[in-house]
């Protein structure tokens, strides 16, 4: 199987400029076009282990990242994202090219992939049991996810939990984990061996960087997982690690609020969320230190053995 890492920089850049790079992430194939050399650099760093498919495969998404035409390309250069003639986002400063690519890929999935209930949540797995971590931005979900992944949990996703409508299983879509502001240094210290992309300052989310998905998670990208827990995390300075059970009905509502396509799916969305809640234990989780958090998650696993 061909991977991004097996292509040299020139070949990678030529594919991006020409017919497009067909990149597989979990169940999706995106055909990516761009003449921006920085994108080839970022992809070769962050997506080395990912499969590249030949032109004979039907892509799910066709994306183009390009610079503006005319004088605009020299004065405060920007990058535009196109999805088949659509421009769902405003252009961003060129320096934000790689974060924009990640956001664009998230958008592709969250606004199209309606064979899943798509929840805005991180999800990790160990011993066949998956923990879903839904939370509004700023609650420390990605930091917690990155920390767990660095301690041996399998990364399914840090942003998009894909719950199958047919059987409630979770399909992984392991891509780089987004880290914001202070959490970049927290994870650098927590996992010195992790590969983290150069931080980009002044985005709408502040300073952002991405941590590479571990090779083992990427290798198992087509292996689904069974949801076991839904944990709503909340980081609080100095707080002890504490799990508080959440009633099913309340958990259902909070899950719905965090899903991209809950109402679009109608009855199927409701049924999928209900089945998910039925088959899992649901908790609020507050914590102040990652070490304490790790112990709590290992404890959940131990209770299941």
């Amino acid at each position: 199987m061909l991977t991004v890492g097996a292509l040299d920089r020139h070949t990678l850049a030529a594919r991006l400029r020409g017919p497009g790079l067909r990149l597989q992430t979990g169940p999706f194939i995106a055909c990516i076009r761009s003449s921006l050399p920085a994108l080839a650099v970022a992809l070769s760093r962050m997506y080395a282990d990912y499969p590249v498919l030949d032109e004979d495969t039907t892509a799910d998404f066709n994306v183009l990242l390009r610079r503006p035409r005319g004088l605009r390309r020299f004065i405060k250069p920007q990058v535009y994202f196109h999805y088949d003639g659509m421009e769902p986002f405003q252009p961003l400063p060129l320096a934000q090219l790689y974060p924009m690519f990640e956001w664009a890929m998230n958008w592709c999935v969250s606004s199209h992939a309606h064979s899943w209930l798509v929840i805005h949540a991180a999800v990790v797995e160990k011993e066949g049991a998956a923990v879903i971590l839904p939370a509004p931005p700023g609650s420390g979900k990605s930091t917690l996810c990155a920390a767990l992944v660095a301690r041996g949990w399998r990364l399914l996703s840090d942003e998009l939990t894909l719950v199958r409508l047919v059987d409630g299983q979770i399909d992984p879509v392991p891509r780089p984990v987004s880290l914001k502001n202070a959490s970049i240094d927290v994870i650098r210290a927590w996992a010195p061996e992790a590969h983290i992309s150069p931080p980009v300052a002044d985005t709408v989310k502040g300073t952002v960087a991405h941590m590479c998905a571990p090779g083992a998670s990427v290798a198992r990208a087509l292996e689904p997982a069974t949801p076991a827990w839904i944990v709503f995390p909340q980081w609080k300075q100095g707080a002890p690690a504490e799990l508080v059970p959440v009633a099913q009905a309340r958990a259902h509502l909070r899950l719905a609020e965090n899903a991209f396509n809950y109402s679009l799916l109608g009855g199927a969305g409701f049924d999928t969320a209900a089945r998910l809640i039925d088959g899992t234990h649901t908790f609020d989780f507050s914590y102040g230190a990652l070490d304490d958090a790790m112990a709590v998650f290992e404890g959940l696993l131990a209770g299941r053995r």
């Binding site: 194939i29 055909c31 004979d56 495969t57 039907t58 799910d60 088949d84 003639g85 309606h114 799916l265």
Partner: protein, 364 residues
């Protein structure tokens, strides 16, 4: 026919989809999604019994489109009921237009059709009452610019779009199907008089079959923007096929009605391009009678050239060299047909230099 874009060829003959390879599918899906016809493709594959034979990845993609469309239909039916409730004390039948009508009447043209506004037709002398009822139920105008207000209220055939405060849905309240300022003004009273109640949907009506086709044609061929040109042409194709097969005397009545309403020209274009691009089975006698709406030879040659481009899917793979020029000419033409020259130059000047945003803003 082989020079037609892939999507157009598939709309013309859906079973050909069954034989496509992966690259063809990718191109077709991309063209369809950017033409807002993704769900239509899914439903055509279903209708022709070939959905289950398609590659798995394609079936999955079509399934996504179909789901979004199902949800859309549900939302439209809900919203239509909300509008009916808001207006029930007026005693007026709620006459639905365009996509809303196709959905409410369960017409084949609704299959896969996505749209953003609820369109209704009311008598001009009841506009104030209708507007205030809708406002009481939460729909307000978001066009506060004095020029826009005047543009709609004095010159157009509709109120400024009303948007619901909480649900953000948009209603277009029409009192006619062409602007006050257009040279041709089909009498809306005749359209309302011929409107038909939808069986099993109390309080809801749609235009009579011929009028529905003529409105669709007028909308398409008097428009200035063709972002959805192919989709709108496919609506016409579906309406023609459906009424041609189910409505006795439809093919004879259509050109006569067009003549009565002074809409022979848009009907001529509708039939011409439906036949040329989509292979619509229009009887020869109808084509001949509708020939009364034929423009002069030079104009027709120009229009053929312009519409051949405008009625392509709006996808980069279908762009021809002249497309920006064709778009600009059709844009000016669309407005030319809707306003006398002096007013048009004032309007274009205002839109280009005085209004916020550029000339192709949504109210033009």
């Amino acid at each position: 026919m082989n020079t037609l874009p892939l999507l157009t060829r598939v709309l013309r003959s859906p079973p050909t989809m069954a034989a496509f390879d992966a690259p063809a599918w990718e191109l077709l899906l991309r063209q369809a999604v950017s033409a807002d016809l993704g769900a239509t493709l899914a439903l055509l594959a279903e209708e022709h019994g070939i959905l289950h034979t398609l590659p798995e990845r394609v079936q999955r993609r079509l399934g996504w489109e179909r789901r979004a469309w199902e949800r859309h239909g549900q939302a439209v039916r809900f919203e239509t009921q909300q509008v009916r409730r808001a207006l029930q004390d007026t005693g007026l039948p709620l006459i639905l237009l365009k996509g809303t009508a196709y959905v409410a009447a369960g017409l084949p043209a609704a299959a896969g059709r996505l749209f953003s506004d609820i369109d209704i037709l009311v008598p001009k002398d009841r506009l104030d009452e209708v507007e205030s009822r809708l406002m009481l139920h939460g729909w307000v105008s978001n066009h506060h610019d004095a020029y826009d207000q005047r543009y709609y209220r004095e010159w157009m055939h509709e109120l400024p779009p009303l948007q619901h405060l909480r649900r953000a849905t948009v209603i277009d309240v029409h009192h006619a199907i062409l602007p006050e300022t257009a040279a041709v003004r089909p009498d809306p009273a005749r359209l309302r008089a011929a409107a038909r109640a939808i069986p099993g949907a109390p309080g809801l009506s749609v235009l009579a079959p011929c009028d529905m086709v003529l409105h669709s044609a007028t909308h398409l061929f008097y428009e200035g923007e063709y972002d959805h040109g192919l989709r709108d042409l496919f609506d016409l194709h579906r309406l023609l096929c459906h009424f041609g097969a189910t409505e006795p005397g439809f093919w004879t009545a259509l050109p006569t009605r067009a003549h009565e309403l002074e809409l022979a020209r848009p009907l001529f274009y509708a039939l011409r391009y439906c036949i040329q691009l989509l292979g619509t089975p229009v009887p020869a006698a109808t084509v001949e009678t509708a020939g009364g709406g034929r423009p002069g030879r030079a104009l027709l040659a120009l229009m053929d050239g312009l519409f051949a481009r405008a009625l392509r899917p709006m996808h980069p793979s279908c762009a021809a060299a002249l497309t920006p020029l064709a778009d600009a000419m059709l844009y000016i033409r669309g407005n030319w047909l809707r306003m006398p020259p002096l007013m048009l130059s004032r309007h274009l000047f205002h839109k280009a230099f005085l209004s916020p945003g550029n000339v192709k803003s949504d109210q033009v």
